[in-house]
Structures are given as structure tokens and as C-alpha cells.
Amino acid sequence: MKSATTTINAAPPRVLPWGRWGLRATAALYLGVMIALPLAAIIANGLHDGLRAFWNDLSSPAAFAALKLTITMAIIVTLINAVMGTLTAYVIVRYRFYGRGLLNGLIDMPFAIPTLVTGVMLAALYGPQRTLGAWLKAHGIEVIFATPGIVLALLVITYPFIIRAVQPVLIEAERSEEEAAYTIGASKWTTFLRVVFPTIAPAVVSGSLLCFARALGEFGSIVVVAGNIPGRTLTAPVYVYGQIESHNERAASAMSLVLLALSFALIVGVEWLQSRKRRGNVASDPE
């Protein structure tokens, strides 16, 4: 309270030291107990019997196939949604049309609807006995209990990520450059490739990384639509679930560690991209 007598312009009294330290300690303790401790437990458990055991658990045919399937599916889905997400963001930001607001709100749906419900919905639409599913099956296309089902579920779940990364950048982007290019005589496509895309590319990449990380870990929707046949439609998270259920904790830990390492690397990548962007903004700022 001693600084209460100073002028208004002076620095205000600081938060009492114990208050500041109390907040710091609460934050550190909460994150430490809730997040760091569980992470430490899984790392310790996975490496408990040494690297050789860890490797043996991972190189079993079922584990290897699950990992390969998960990564393949994640890559396919990320590529599709990188294109469709960027296009959606572009259309929402640059065009005016009936239903635009509705579309913009609808895109957040996968954030709100439980993933398990998404799975049940897809099964209701594409299940072999259902209308569309029966028709597709008659034409030799199986969706549910096959890999197309996994792709569909992941497409729904990850749809918002790239859109929500690209949208703010597109809104901020200078329209004048685009219009200049267009009036000089560049086609829409050339303008997009040469002017728009370079601006939004970092956002597309960081959105794609988030989308990929999310696809790697997805469980709720996949467990319903995939059929979970080992070696064919069993993804890595579902494999982990199976190993936990059969009390094979070490194999579960080994696979968990691989998934954790992958997602961790992706998150670090996103952080790095974003911090680079921030620095870039500061550097290009004339002031």
C-alpha cells in the first residue's frame, strides 16, 4: 500500500508477492499433477522393460499394421481437407451467398457433436442395411467396417481445423494486391496461386498439422465405423484400447508412446510456425 500516495501515472501497486507466487504455484501444481504426472507415468511404463521390449511390442504384425493404417488414413484425410478446407475458407470469406452464415456456424459442428455420435450418424447413413449404404453395397462399395468409413469419419472430425486456421488470415489479407493482379490481367487462378496462396500457406500448413495430429488420435467415431479388424481396419488408438482391455499394459504403453511422440512433434511444429509468423510480422512492421 505504500505506493498508494504516488501519482496516477506511476506504476500501480504490484500484486502482493505471496499472491503472485500463490497463483504461479497453483498453475504449476495443477498442470503438473493433471498433465505432467500422467505423461511421466506412461513414458516410464513404456520404457520400463528397456528399448528391446519396446521395439518387440511395436513390431508385432498387428501393432505395425495398426500404426501404418493410422498414418495412411491421417495423410489421406489431411490432404483432402487441406484442399477442401482452404476452398471452404476462401468461399466463406470472399463470396456472399445465401446460407453463408449457416455454413459458417455449421462448420463448428464437429467441435460440439460427440465423436461417438458422429460415428453412429455415419453408421446410420452408410451402414449396410441402411438406405444409402445398401445402395452403395449393391454397387460393390463398402463404407462401414472398411477403410472408406474411417476416411469419412476423420474427414468430418477434422473439417474445421484448416478452415479455422485459414479464415482469419484471409480476412486480414490485403485485397488490393489481389485486385491489382486481377486488373493487370492475371486470371483468377493465377491470382490465387501467385498472390493469395503464398499469404495463407503458413496457415494451411499449421492447420494441416493440427488436422493430422487430431486424425492420429481419433477414437470415438472410428471405433463405431471401422469394424476394428486386426491387420485391416484396426487403428492405433483402437489397438491401444484393445491392449488395455486384455491387460497387456506394456504393448499399450509402447504404442501410446509412439502416438504421443508423433503428436508432440506436430504440436511443436505448429508452435514453431506460429512463433515464426509472429516474428515475421514484427520484422515487416515499419514502426
Binding site: 502482493l16 470469406v93 455454413l103 457433436i113 460427440p114 455420435v117 446410420a124 480476412i171 492420429l216 470415438g220
Partner: protein, 299 residues
């Protein structure tokens, strides 16, 4: 500010030639059509299918499934767990967000990185971590046994799992608004003799409220919908520890499609309502945010 850009008419190009303008229009329509079709196929069609499915099986069966004792107790448990997790994560989230936005100390970057981990960890793995901590031979089992608390395969485990997966939302929404909130008013309040708590309660909190509520609604939505972590921790099929999503999971296992669909419809409707709340808060938060940014650039 962004609003001005949004409202700007689109076809401002100085129409180099009429033919080209027509071409551009066609491209525009085609792109809009592609996006609408994609979004409808991905998001709307499954929704329609499940509602149609629930009605086709007969309204009676639907109502019977949803009003069964199991379904009602599952819905009740989901509500309790979601509210509990949201409260705890809001309280601690505010504290952590304040520390990340306003404080500076050694190790802050580590804390900042830890916050994002629940987004990176598959929910199944999150549940598995809790088994390793609280299950047989777990790191903390001796402690919880001594306290007489059963965590894994019981309600505390479900609560902790729900908390874990929904930690980041409040923090990630509040940190940006807290860092750019106008500090002058806070400083003024403090110099006039308000306690730190009074300042927070009457100055800071009103300034960040929309961002906070947006984060809270996201937390709640995530908590209601969690399956992977809760499934692992609840140990499957005890009806005492069954949330709404676990009810769906068990119904699918029992080949009770009507039950699974009925509960899925209920959760979908609930999520839709939460989504509308989310969108409302988000809009308010963005409006506030851009207003503040404009104000601070004008200064």
C-alpha cells in the same frame, strides 16, 4: 474492422471484359456449390440420416429407450460430470491463463506447452495414463487407498478423465483476451485502492467475460461428448458408472441399435444447442476483441 472487410462488395474488379466477368461468376458459383455440397454431405446428411432412422423405427421405441432407467441415469451422470469438470477447469483455467498472460518467470514456456498436451494426446491414451497412475500398482494407488478413495472404475476416475481432456479450452480462449485487455482501467482501480481481488472481480472479469464464456461453453461441449478416456477409466460396463456416451457404446456392443441411435439423437440435439450458445459467445468475443484492438491501435 474485420467486419468492414467482410461487408465490402465482392465484385469490385473493374470488369476488364464482360465475357471475363461472366466466367468469373461461373467459377464463383461452381466453387460455392462444391463447398456447400461437401459440407452438406459431410455434416448434414449423417444428421438427417440418424433423425430419420430414429423416427422410422417408431417414435414409441425411441421414447421408451430414452426414458428407460439406464438412459436417464446415464444422462444425469453426464450432466454432473460435465458441470463438475467445467467448473474446476474454469476456476483453474482462469488462474493459469492469468499466469500465462500476465506473469513472467522461469519455466513459463514449459507450462504453456503442457497446456496443449491434452489436444495432442489421444483420449484413449489419456484414460490409460489414469490407469497407470491409479490402477493396480499405480504410482498414486497407495495414496488413494490410504484415503479410501477408489478412482479407476469409479466416478472420480471419470471426473478426472473428463477434466484432463477439457483443460485447454478456457485457457486458450482467455489468454489472448487477457493479454490485450486494457490495463489502464485495472491500474486506475488499483491506484484508487481496490484490492487485487476487487480489481479482478469488477474490472478484469467484465472485460474478458465473452472470451471466458466462449471457452467455458467449449469445455462443456467437450466434456459432454468424451468417450475414449472415460471408456478406459470406467472399465466398460458397470451401469453405475455409465455416462451418455458409454450408454451408446454399450448399446452398440449389445446390438441395441435403437437405443444407441436414440441416445445419439438426444446428444446430437444437446450438442446443437450448445453449439448455438458457443456461436453466440464466439461472436460476442470476436466483436469485443476487434473493438479492443481497434481502440488500442487508435491510441
Amino acid at each position: 474492422m474485420s467486419q468492414a472487410i467482410l461487408n465490402e462488395p465482392v465484385a469490385t474488379s473493374r470488369t476488364p471484359s464482360r465475357k471475363r466477368a461472366v466466367g468469373a461468376r461461373l467459377v464463383e458459383w461452381a466453387l460455392i456449390a462444391i463447398v456447400l455440397l461437401y459440407a452438406a454431405g459431410l455434416l448434414v446428411a449423417p444428421l438427417v440420416a440418424i433423425v430419420y432412422g430414429a423416427l422410422v423405427e417408431g417414435g414409441g421405441a425411441f421414447v421408451r429407450q430414452i426414458t428407460s432407467a439406464d438412459a436417464l441415469s446415464a444422462l444425469k451422470l453426464t450432466l454432473i460430470m460435465a458441470v463438475g469438470a467445467t467448473l474446476i477447469n474454469t476456476l483453474f483455467g482462469l488462474c493459469i491463463a492469468w499466469v500465462l498472460a500476465r506473469d513472467d518467470f522461469w519455466g513459463k514456456r514449459v507450462l504453456n506447452g503442457l497446456v496443449d498436451m491434452p489436444f495432442a494426446v489421444s483420449p484413449v491414451i489419456a484414460g490409460f495414463m489414469l490407469i497407470l497412475l491409479f490402477g493396480r500398482n499405480g504410482w498414486l494407488t497407495a495414496l488413494t487407498d490410504a484415503l479410501g478413495i477408489k478412482v479407476v472404475f469409479a466416478l472420480p476416475g471419470i471426473l478426472i478423465a473428463t477434466i484432463f481432456i477439457s483443460i485447454p479450452f478456457v485457457i486458450r480462449e482467455v489468454v489472448p483476451v487477457l493479454s490485450q485487455a486494457n490495463r489502464d482501467q485495472e491500474n486506475a482501480a488499483r491506484t484508487m485502492g481496490a484490492s487485487p481481488w476487487q480489481t479482478f472481480r469488477h474490472v478484469t472479469l467484465p472485460a474478458i467475460r465473452w472470451g471466458l464464456l466462449y471457452g467455458v461453453s467449449l469445455t462443456f461441449a467437450r466434456a459432454v461428448g468424451e468417450i475414449g478416456a472415460v471408456l478406459v477409466v470406467s472399465g466398460g460396463v458397470s451401469r453405475l458408472t455409465e455416462t451418455a456416451t458409454l450408454f451408446i457404446f454399450r448399446s452398440l456392443d449389445d446390438r441395441n441399435t435403437v437405443g444407441a441411435n436414440a441416445m445419439a439423437v438426444v446428444l446430437a440435439v444437446v450438442s446443437f444447442m450448445i453449439l448455438m450458445v458457443i456461436e453466440f459467445f464466439k461472436r460476442r468475443a470476436e466483436k469485443n476483441y476487434s473493438a479492443n484492438v481497434t481502440a488500442s491501435t487508435l491510441e
